[in-house]
């Protein structure tokens, strides 16, 4: 009968309503990332305004930024997005071994990026307080670097939790959110790389 179908539907929707915690968490996390995007948009806009309105953009004695090492760094970081995606796929196939291997590789690639960034910083001839250019450079790369570090820590947690028996019985929110965050960090870096290194 028509009405009994309706009540079943109602029941199932109610069931989902109270138990869709995974869905809520993922939705909330996406909202958070969208909001986080606006901090970067704020910094990017600031960078563009400073660069286009400042007649002496580069500090005295600085002719520009070396692009080769950052470019290699970029390739490594962006490729790690593919690696964490492969990790997610492996988990969907319940292939825990592969999952952990890909995750470790992704962590290693992120760490390579961070170390590369630190080496670049240590060789630069200008500092945080060297004019607006220095401030903007370290602010943008530093703030992004903090996000990379966060992403690496999240992946380490996800890696560690994969050893807990029954960890994936309730869903994959942890790895899905971490992976999304990692893609986010990559996309931000691509924009940053164009703004700071390509557009000189």
């Amino acid at each position: 009968m028509d009405s009994s179908i309706t009540s079943e539907e109602l029941h199932s929707s109610r069931h989902e309503h109270t138990h869709d915690e995974e869905g809520n968490k993922m939705f909330g996390f996406i909202v958070f990332l969208l909001s986080e995007t606006f901090i970067f948009l704020g910094f990017f806009t600031g960078y563009i305004v400073y660069k286009t309105t400042n007649p002496d953009w580069l500090p005295p004695g600085v002719s520009g930024l070396e692009i080769k090492d950052p470019a290699i760094n970029t390739v490594v970081l962006v490729s790690s997005s593919l690696v964490i995606y492969l990790a997610e796929r492996a988990l969907l196939r319940h292939d825990l071994m592969k999952f952990r291997q890909f995750l470790l590789l992704s962590i290693a690639m992120g760490t390579y990026f961070l170390v590369g960034q630190a080496i670049e910083w240590s060789h630069l001839s200008f500092g945080f307080t060297t004019g607006v250019f220095g401030g903007m450079f370290y602010l943008l790369t530093g703030f992004h670097g903090l996000h990379v570090l966060t992403g690496i820590l999240l992946q380490i947690i996800v890696f560690g939790r994969s050893f807990i028996p029954g960890n994936y019985d309730t869903g994959h929110f942890g790895i899905n959110a971490t992976s999304l965050f990692w893609h986010f960090v990559d996309v931000i870096w691509i924009v940053l790389f164009f703004l700071i290194y390509i557009w000189q």
Partner: protein, 551 residues
Amino acid sequence: MTNISVKDISNTSKTPEYHPATDWKRYFSFSTDHKVIGIQYIVTAFILFLVGGIFAMILRGELITPESDLVDRSVYNALFTMHGTVMLFGWTFPILTGFANYLVPLMIGARDMAFPRLNAVAFWMIPIAALLLMASFFVPGGPAQAGWWSYPPVSLQNPTGNLINGQVIWLLAVAISGVSSIMGAINFVTTIVKMRAPGMTFFRMPIFVWNVMSAQIIQLFGLPVLTAGAVMLLLDLTVGTSFFDPAKGGDPVLFQHFFWFYSHPAVYVIILPVFGIFSEIFPVFARKPLFGYKIVAISSLLIAGVSAIVWVHHLYVSGTPAWMRLFFMLTTMFVSVPTGIKVFAWTATIWGGKLRFDTPMLFALGALILFVFAGITGITLSSVPIDVHVNNTYYVVGHFHYVLYGTVTMGMFAAIYFWFPKMTGRMYYEGLGKLHFWLSFIGANLNFFPMHPLGLQGMLRRVSSYAPEYEMWNIIASIGAFMLGVSILPFILNMIGSWMNDKPAPKNPWRAIGLEWLVSSPPPVENFEEIPVVVGEPYGYGKSEALVENR
């Protein structure tokens, strides 16, 4: 048949106890119940309202005479800075978050917010931020003195040379409150999108919920940008970068852009829920459906959208190019379209209704009248020639106090009286409520109207001494301010007296339509014995439609 099976399914043994918790100690605990958190927010906000109010009383006391004679000039600077900061970040934002916390899950038929623990964390950051801000009175050099907008280079001066100074503490407190707001915004948007009861479609949501969602969307895109600017200012102040320091090649006007990109929309974050409160109260006390429900709902989203492209009207005199002034003048004027639609809808709702003038209705009507006045002065301010003339004068101060006291604060009192029976299970005293209304309505006009002629005559804001010819209007304004101060006494008496009183309030004292009125007063711990199934439109006053499926 349908009804029976639905009931059987939800009547499982794991349903918790359905009676209101009465233990007062839970209000001082890390509770994750959205209703407890809501009241925690509201009470905290009210305490901070009193603090900000005391600052205001001292400021108006100073301004009775043209000479600077009551407090030291630097104390005066600190007081107006703290007055603005506490009233915005301590009163308006938290109390609106409080009402949204209490009401949104009830109104959409949910048991709690989507993330109850995040909710509690977000609340407890508010008292921390407030205590931090108050602590700045005890550091060398005192609290921040650069006004609530903290424009550099004034905010970069740091005369004491200490790393821990009023301005740094100010930035940290605002940052904590900002993080709390972002957490809240994520929680509200997720709750509204994902947690609605069966049958509660978007166009069956009460306007209050629509407006909370619109307001929280603004928080999500606006606050991060202010945070970006605040981080850069903090670095300038502590590390010695030169983002906003003109002496070192920085650009102080860029900070103004960062600041107002959020802080103008922030006004809509504050006022949209108040518009929601109006939309809840007018139909109840006019016994008529809300006029133009869908248009009113959509106009809220429109306000949220337009709010992102109006901020430069605060920067007409900051070297802004002419084309930019023109663009932002037009967008600012455009805000009056969706807002005008709302005012029209409320007026049409009241029109020909069977009006009852209980305290919530009086406050809502009074707030609406003051809002129309604020809207008119707002349109004059959006016009570049007028704004250039009255920029930084009391005309601006008068305008936004009509918004923030006349509309927002009065609207909040309407909400407090309206939902007080629901939240406490007690009725308030109508006589004291009406006394509170008349004192605040007359007081607000006495206090804030004189600021308009003063501003037009050229009296600058943020100065403790002024030319003697401004004295008359200033005395009137101060009398109004003290009247507003007094108006709080019957309110406090009323709230405490009624809460202690044993006379219980019925489930639905106003004969209002809405899910929150279907449950007991105060509502049980998880709100609904069983999640309601919504079958009707909101605001079905005068119609014989059911709101929820009859079990």
